[in-house]
Symmetry: C2
């Protein structure tokens, strides 16, 4: 009897629905070959839903989504500068609310330069690393405030909250990830300036390192890490860092590896106490929405991460292999979003 | 009668003294041609001084430095991991203390790709922008703390403090800088996550923009800004951003423009209420200290920024011209620190 997985699907805004359609096409194609079935429920969330109903994410939405085994998300966000969206903050109210409520403490963002993909770097070398970004703490907690707002005496604060509990669990995950790869872990922070948060991260990495004597550990300030990402990205295996530094480093990583159109991510709750969520790193790109110009590859690679997370590693590898072959065949060709999805879906079921 | 400028010199640690010696050589060479004299006082500060005396920067040091017209700094910081420096934090106690005490609210970091310099980018294009980094607020204020430190229940917070007063003055400086250049200003922040600080920055940029109708303004999230820095750095003219984002972006900018060995910076108090401080962006590189392998170019370009700040724009241009010509002649040559300094010093006085 085949296994059944319930999947909450949030296509979202802009190009989100288009790339999600292709990701699901590939998911269903590979599933039938690996004795698993995905039952999908689609949730209409994002800027469009907000403009229609005024809701960003209701408690009922959240409970319904949380009852699934996993989540696939396309992209959310309306047209930048849309006056009707001022004050809505779909990012905080939807994306970050999901990550925080579902305790997605690992934000997993792999970077590879696929054969055939041009990098903006003249000599990128062999690039294959993964950023383990903390997902539930740091400057993302939303503990800010302002006084005398709108006056010349305004003071606006943002608080970065970091806990031993929160840092240790993500650091431990990063060490395990390094152990399954090339056994190198780089902590990225800014310990010389953010001395309290930095000291906590550093002490926890040092303590956990003792349990993983086969993993080589080093440390870089975040500013120096950006230098190495453009001068010697091949030096990295696993990077572990806080929520904000991880946000910055992974966009840069996407850029050097040939564009954010290939960057996939998993918002993971490793303890399995709530469903993990997989999404491309790119945004909703409203300017090209509906034109079939979007590259669905990042969404499809997010499916590979999803399959891997569910323990379906063969199915995951089939997707990655099909994507890698497809990417290698791209030079000079222009295909629509669904043509790329069709090609990869056909390839995975062969 | 010639003008006399008093200059506090902080050679610092590692390669600091070597590059500072060359910077002073060039400064004195250009000064005599432009009817100005520099009286220098050297301050022995940094890791070496700390190890000798236990002092990082005494109130007396600070008062003595503050009585000068300007400051030239080489680099500070001991050997990474030196156990005797644990807990000293020379960066906070010396560099940041100077920036904060002397109210260096503009941290000016120009980036150019000089003709003849190889960039790690395959197709960098024409790159000439300047980052105006706020220098006295944001996550750098040192308002952090931790409770239950060292226990599994530790909470470590960092507070980013942003004021209308502090943001407005640096934003105004950035607009004036844009007006004297290509009239494009890009605000970089993370308004969708750091909603209070981001909103303050955004509102102030919008308000000040009304006074500069000839300057075109745009906005990028910090993660997106790193993408453009590697895919299309030519799009930037002036970037204005907070202390931490500015730190990260300028190291990346240094890297794409051919290395941090060419990146100069000014810590500026535009109101003239205290001396401004000029320094290369690079660190003290203790591993090559004393070997005459360090490139003094960033220190020499910091002299150009210093001269410009003092209103000696012809002398500043002479230094930039000499450096540009020297850089263009470098391909394949290896010269010692002092050979490079000698060549540029000779060129400026011709
Ligand atoms: C949209 C935004 C809130 C989000 C983040 O900052 O985490 C995005 O940039 C990302 O990296 O997934
Ligand atoms: C040494 C450090 C405190 C400093 C900073 O973070 O500002 C450095 O990185 C810089 O950019 O000048």
């Amino acid at each position: 009897m085949s296994r059944t997985v319930s999947l909450a699907v949030i296509p979202g805004d802009g190009i989100g629905p288009e790339v999600t359609a292709e990701a699901l096409k590939v998911l269903h194609a590979v599933a039938s070959d690996h004795d698993v079935e995905f039952e999908t429920t689609s949730f209409s969330l994002g800027a469009a839903r907000y403009l229609e109903t005024g809701d960003v994410l209701t408690d009922e939405d959240l409970a319904a989504i949380a009852s699934h085994d996993a989540i696939l998300l396309g992209a959310v966000g309306g047209v930048p500068g849309d006056p009707r969206l001022v004050g809505a903050n779909i990012e905080r109210g939807l994306l970050l609310r999901l990550r925080f409520s579902l305790d997605h403490y690992v934000n997993l963002r792999p970077t590879r330069i696929y054969p055939g993909v041009p990098s903006p770097l003249a000599d990128a070398g062999d690039v294959d690393f993964v950023v383990v970004r903390e997902g539930t703490e740091g400057p993302y907690v939303g503990n800010g405030g302002s006084i005398r707002t709108g006056t010349p005496h305004e003071v606006a604060n943002e608080v970065s909250v970091n806990t031993a509990y929160g840092v240790e669990r993500v650091v431990r995950y990063a060490f395990r990830t390094a152990q399954s790869r090339r056994r190198k872990l780089t902590l990225v922070h800014k310990t010389n300036v953010l001395t309290f948060a930095g000291s906590l991260w550093k002490r926890i990495v040092d303590a956990v390192a003792a349990e993983f004597p086969d993993v080589e550990v080093d440390y870089l300030h975040v500013d120096a890490a950006t230098i190495f990402l453009v001068t010697n990205p091949g030096r990295f295996d696993v990077l572990v860092t806080d929520n904000l530094f991880g946000d910055i480093l992974t966009d840069l990583a996407g850029a050097i590896s040939g564009g954010i159109g290939l960057a996939a991510s998993g918002n993971i709750n490793p303890d399995g106490t709530s469903p993990s969520m997989f999404e491309p790193v790119h945004g909703s790109a409203p300017d090209i929405a509906g034109t079939q110009k979007a590259d669905p590859t990042a969404a499809i690679l997010s499916v590979a991460l999803l399959l891997d997370h569910l323990g379906l590693s063969e199915a995951s590898a089939a997707v990655t292999t099909a994507v890698t072959a497809d990417i290698a065949s791209r030079a000079g060709r222009t295909r629509s979003t669904s043509e790329i999805g069709d090609a990869i879906a056909t390839a995975v079921s062969q």
